[in-house]
């Protein structure tokens, strides 16, 4: 049994005291950094990269990977407590997580986030270990038409993110889609909507928009009421600060859904954890029996995106380790680290260096356990943050937001931008425009446009390429089904009204 032998070897490597130590340092730093908005895993991995140059590659990779998946655990904390996404994939977690906190259920929300992260993180590693090579081959079947279909599926989630008004959700998404077109057009090299600012040539950073609209918008909205007391109720007693049996039961399907969606989206080099979290949330809502309660603080609305986000790590490592292709910003830095250590990342990496691959896999099992042990006891503690009065907490959120966006690129321009988007976020709240569709449009917009234009270049302008390939066709059928749902309900409600009127 190949895998068993490999895993035994891997655990022998991962359980060496020094490797255990580096694994702990990695996941610990990762969680801390994940909690802080703006400071994402890729920035932290880059920060600690010089340190690992003195280490051996196995220990270095174990630590850097620890930061990567550790940051994903931490990302949900501020999303749930403060409505501030700690990293890009936690935007979706805000939707139900923050509502739970508002209702005094911050503890259970944080707990379920940690548990789903653990379950899905471990699931992702297991799949990485068991099916990496065939899954990598599957990922290669994704060309531009398949990416187009995936992005269409993602954008169709807007109908599931809408609040009271579908039109407002669509408008928010369109603004997001427009923001996504800002920058240099990939195909013609010409600028679009850059207003001759070189800072806008690479487009508007998604993190800037997310922090502006969610964090600063939230703070501004709360300035209109005098917030001198504590923010939200925090129940006493440990039992109320952790998820109960019913919460776990409610999230079991979300765990499975998120784990699977997260892994497979993660494997694709042209998609990422943000897409994974949106899609799994949408799927969860689409099949749920209490669909209408999503967005009001249901526990599976936290479990699904958090699971997807963490399972994505295992997926993203598949193309990196089996093909030498980085699938995301963070795995690109891991690839750089491998090169700097003098290894040759490529399809033969595992074959040439089995101890690295198996050591990494084993360390990820251990690291996920460490993260659960590290994070669960922190839950009651973090929940106490909400006892602080608003006048302490809100300025701190502003400070964290400014530091977060500035740390992206050390550009003051981004601080101005985040202020502007903060005002936009406040206005959207006031006028009941949902903010998640804006983010959805921004994240998927240029990916979809690129995919369409790439596809049509491949087919010399023949549109049928978009729907004639089987994988793409399947995903488009899903998309149609999701779009048809609310349309169908809408039409039938109109018919009912019309019948009432006639009667």
């Amino acid at each position: 049994m190949d895998i068993l032998a490999g895993l035994t070897q891997g655990f022998a490597v991962a359980l060496e005291p020094m490797n255990l130590f580096w694994c702990f340092i990695g996941v610990f730093f990762g969680t801390v950094v994940g909690v802080l908005p703006g400071l994402g895993p890729s920035a932290t991995v880059a920060l600690l990269l010089p340190l690992t140059m003195q280490m051996n590659p196995t220990a270095g990779l174990i630590m850097l990977a620890g930061i990567y998946y550790g940051a994903k655990y931490g990302g949900s904390t501020t999303a749930i407590l403060l409505n501030v996404p700690g990293e890009s994939a936690s935007v979706v977690t805000c939707l139900d997580g923050f509502e739970m906190a508002r209702q005094g259920r911050a503890g259970p929300a944080l707990g379920i986030a940690a548990i789903s992260s653990f379950v899905a993180g471990t699931f992702g590693v297991a799949l990485l270990m068991l099916v990496a090579p065939p899954v990598a081959e599957f990922a290669l079947r994704f060309g531009p038409p398949e990416y187009f279909a995936l992005m269409a599926l993602g954008l169709s989630m807007v109908v599931l993110l809408a609040g009271r008004s579908m039109i407002k959700a669509l408008l928010a998404m369109l603004v997001g889609l427009w923001l996504a077109t800002i920058g240099i057009d990939l195909f013609t090299d010409g600028p679009r909507y850059t207003f001759e600012q070189i800072e806008l040539m690479d487009g508007v950073d998604f993190v800037v928009v997310a922090i502006g609209v969610f964090a600063i918008g939230e703070v501004l909205a709360n300035l209109s009421v005098k917030a001198s007391g504590q923010m939200f109720p925090v129940p006493k007693g440990l039992r109320n600060l952790l998820p109960n049996w019913q919460d776990l039961k409610d999230s079991r399907f979300a765990l499975v859904n998120g784990s699977i969606v997260g892994f497979f989206v993660g494997v694709l080099p042209g998609a990422g954890s943000t897409i994974a979290s949106f899609v799994s949330y949408g799927l969860e809502k689409a099949v749920s029996r209490r669909r209408e309660r999503f967005g009001t603080g249901v526990v599976e609305g936290v479990a699904a995106p958090e699971a997807a986000n963490n399972s994505e790590t295992g997926g993203a490592l598949v193309p990196l380790l089996t093909l030498g292709i980085p699938g995301s910003g963070t795995t690109a830095i891991l690839l750089a680290a491998l090169i700097l250590w003098g290894l040759r990342p490529g399809p033969l990496l595992i074959q040439d260096n089995p101890q690295i691959f198996w050591g990494l896999v084993a360390s990820m099992y251990i690291g996920n356990v460490m993260l659960l042990i590290l994070n669960l006891p922190m839950v009651p503690l973090f929940a106490q943050i909400l006892r602080l009065p608003g006048y302490v907490l809100y300025p701190v959120i502003l400070g964290v937001s400014i530091v977060g966006v500035y740390s992206l690129d050390q550009r003051l321009f981004d601080v101005w931008l985040v202020g502007g988007f903060g005002l936009l976020g406040f206005l959207m709240r006031r006028l009941e425009y949902p903010s998640a569709p804006l983010i959805l449009g921004l994240v998927l917009g240029d990916l979809m446009e690129n995919a369409v234009r790439q596809s049509l270049m491949m087919s010399n302008g023949d549109v049928s390429i978009l729907y004639s390939r089987p994988l793409a066709a399947t995903m488009l059928l899903f998309t149609a089904a999701i779009l048809a749902g609310p349309l169908f309900r809408q039409v039938s409600s109109w018919r009912l009204k019309a019948m009432e009127r006639e009667a």
């Binding site: 950094v33 802080l36 400071l39 920060l47 008004s165 039109i167 407002k168 669509l170 408008l171 369109l174 603004v175 889609l177 427009w178 077109t181 057009d185 013609t188 679009r192 909507y193 600063i216 703070v219 501004l220 909205a221 300035l223 209109s224 005098k226 917030a227 001198s228 608003g390 006048y391 302490v392 809100y394 300025p395 701190v396 502003l398 400070g399 400014i402 530091v403 500035y406 740390s407 050390q410 003051l412 601080v415 101005w416 202020g419 903060g422 005002l423 406040f426 206005l427 006031r430 006028l431 425009y433 446009e449 369409v452 234009r453 596809s455 049509l456 270049m457 010399n460 302008g461 549109v463």
Partner: protein, 156 residues
């Protein structure tokens, strides 16, 4: 149709969105719409702009219908909105201060201002919270995490 009954801010928002849509579409008009291999750089923005404008108009129409059906708009809380605007201007002023004065000073001023003026707490509280949290920020981000924050002439 009874536009008078619609919330004024809803109308203004829709108007701004129509304007944005027209601007987006007008800009896109100058770029190639279709090339020999499918959509050009103008294709998507043009549709995004047109849809923005069209949907905003549709939104107003629907609201007018609802308003006619008797749903009264809520009263705007001008006092609260004023506080929000003051808070937002404070954030922007702090952003402007970042370059000449550095992060720590800008943040202390912003925090103290918000706590004292917007949240109407005592000076002592404003001073304690702003100085305390600024120190914590500096230790955590600059010293521990080595984030390169803008520094003033005094080095922080």
């Amino acid at each position: 149709m009874s536009f008078k009954l619609i919330d004024r801010s809803e109308l203004v928002a829709a108007g701004l969105l129509v304007a944005l849509g027209v601007f987006v579409a007008a800009q896109a008009w100058d770029w190639p719409y279709l090339t020999k291999d499918g959509p050009g750089p103008g294709f998507f923005p043009l549709w995004i702009g047109l849809l923005l404008a069209a949907l905003s108009i549709a939104l107003v129409a629907l609201q007018a219908r609802d308003a006619a059906a008797g749903r009264a708009p809520e009263k705007t809380d001008w006092r609260g909105t004023g506080r929000v605007l003051v808070g937002w201007l404070a954030v922007m002023a702090a952003a402007a201060l970042l370059k000449p004065a550095g992060f720590v000073v800008s943040y202390v001023l912003l925090t103290a201002f918000l706590i004292r003026v917007v949240f109407r707490q005592r000076w002592t509280q404003a001073a304690a919270v702003s100085l305390g949290s600024a120190a914590a920020f500096w230790l955590l981000f600059v010293k521990l995490l080595k984030v390169r924050l803008p520094a003033g002439p005094w080095g922080f």
